[in-house]
Symmetry: C2
Subunit: 325 residues, 2 copies
Amino acid sequence: MATNIQTENIELELSAVIVSVNEFDTPEVLVIKDEKGVAQLPAGPFDPVHHTTLELGLRAWIMEQTPFTPGYVEQLYTFGNRGRVAMKGKEAKRVVSVGYLALTWCEEDQAERLAPWRSWYEFLPWEDWRQGRPEMIDKHILPSLKRWIASAETQTERDDRKRRCAACFAMRDDGAGWDYEPVLERYELLYSARLLPEVFRDKGEKLPPVEEHELVPGRSMRYDHRRILATAIGRLRGKIKYRPVIFELMPESFTLLQLQKTMEAIGGYQLHKQNFRRLLENNRLVEETGEMSKKTGGRPAALFQFRKEILSERVAIGVKMSPSG
Amino acid sequence: MATNIQTENIELELSAVIVSVNEFDTPEVLVIKDEKGVAQLPAGPFDPVHHTTLELGLRAWIMEQTPFTPGYVEQLYTFGNRGRVAMKGKEAKRVVSVGYLALTWCEEDQAERLAPWRSWYEFLPWEDWRQGRPEMIDKHILPSLKRWIASAETQTERDDRKRRCAACFAMRDDGAGWDYEPVLERYELLYSARLLPEVFRDKGEKLPPVEEHELVPGRSMRYDHRRILATAIGRLRGKIKYRPVIFELMPESFTLLQLQKTMEAIGGYQLHKQNFRRLLENNRLVEETGEMSKKTGGRPAALFQFRKEILSERVAIGVKMSPSG
DNA sequence: TCAAAAGTGTTATCCTTACACCCATGT
DNA sequence: ACATGGGTGTAAGGATAACACTTTTGA
């Protein structure tokens, strides 16, 4: 080690993507607004003196900044790009951020009172396919991406851009082949193509005038929090297939349609009712409580609960997402 | 924030699990030995001044400590347990460690010369089912775990321990139902049951005398590096199913049996030859180079190469692991 | 000639996907 | 009566898992 190593100027930040699905089947994240009204995630520095573990530190920050006591918490990723710098006195500190995913279920009336919940599709609107293929993809994203591909300087670069676009946005004419999982990859592709405002912010450049820029619709966030959000959604969409995490977002008992709607909210597309139910049955994920719900608006529905026993029966359990609707 | 926050005493360590599969189909990790001969992973502190990103910092450390230039690198997890403390001057520093997985393919003769490669099953021998169910599981692990379950103080605790054991070690009499993926969960279960020497080391306790302890066979590592290794194996076993990472461990061209043996080395169990090949064919993962290999010992085998085009065709591609042998 | 590995055929079973239809309740 | 959601039957197609067998080489 010949070089002069500096390890002092690090701040470890703990950030949380707290997710809930509300009664209108909107997947929401808890955000905090700074002075300028820009959304950011609940976060705070890791304090090695007071925090026994990273996760406990995160829980402490959540409880300080929000009215929630988090239940399920999972580490996502550690982000350490040079862009993330904080000034402390006259010294530049490098901020390394450990992102976490937390899942809760939120009482209906409580959801009303807690203002800072936002639909996560406000930030990543191209991820919501529940009403079919979002218009903005054909009208906005694909044309911009095509220009971006064409503007590459070498053929190799052009091919590489093409490959990334094809893999992320399934740029086939039939629109089929959309994969709901690579949320982060899509975000990063849009970032590479300079279609997000944070590209300019991170580089210290000014936003191009409205007539010129091709920025993709969707609310931005402070720092790299939108990237952390994309990581969280991607992880959740992946995990749901082999771990029963969906129940962390549900009340004790629920109807099957409620469960389906919650899955759809997370996955961002519609499911086939009967296949979904057969899947639940085959995997013995839920059991009837015996109660009925009359709040459904139609015929009363049987109430179900999560079969906790399966946790010891198998390790890989989850809900695969067969599309259709 | 009423409390007095301390964020200064953090050291961010970057550690790498560098994986390769050798010509004898042994999955290996690159280790370094400290003065006492205890194995540890290549690692070094993150230097925010010289390292642009965490990953580049890691790559720099690998190149300094090993004769390798890493190719595929992936972040695993960030470990921040209070146990991890380093003394710096008279001040205690909290070490937070970011673990990475790196995959390489290693020339045969190179493998000979590079001493520090070790089979990863030396550290986690219960994970290798290629020769069938390891004896130690029935002779050693399960009896110890049963005693651990019985020794719980409350019924709730007993049930919880039982559930964890059942989920991790498939404690059914027929021995079926082994899931090769939850490597970390199994490691952590053995840790909870105090069957690993590092439990005592981490707590500052002395190892119980040989007659009394029930420690499970398997080499330990420094710090929490064995936990990081378990995380790496689990992640790799999971990822292989939906991303074509296996090819990072292969030479440019290879025979199908070579590929199968490499998969088996990672997964820790034997695959069914024909089903494996059908899978490769269905997913169009490989293509013939036209060359033949005569080094197989039997009939010459066709050489194949990875079909790179699929990277743009689909996002989810990998090799599912149908067992049998 | 025999060991060692390459390479192929076939089948039962299960899961996925896709149809289409009837039932019970509130307004 | 009708809108709304609850709840079911059935069938084609494909992937999986499990059989067993022939072929080609080197020693």
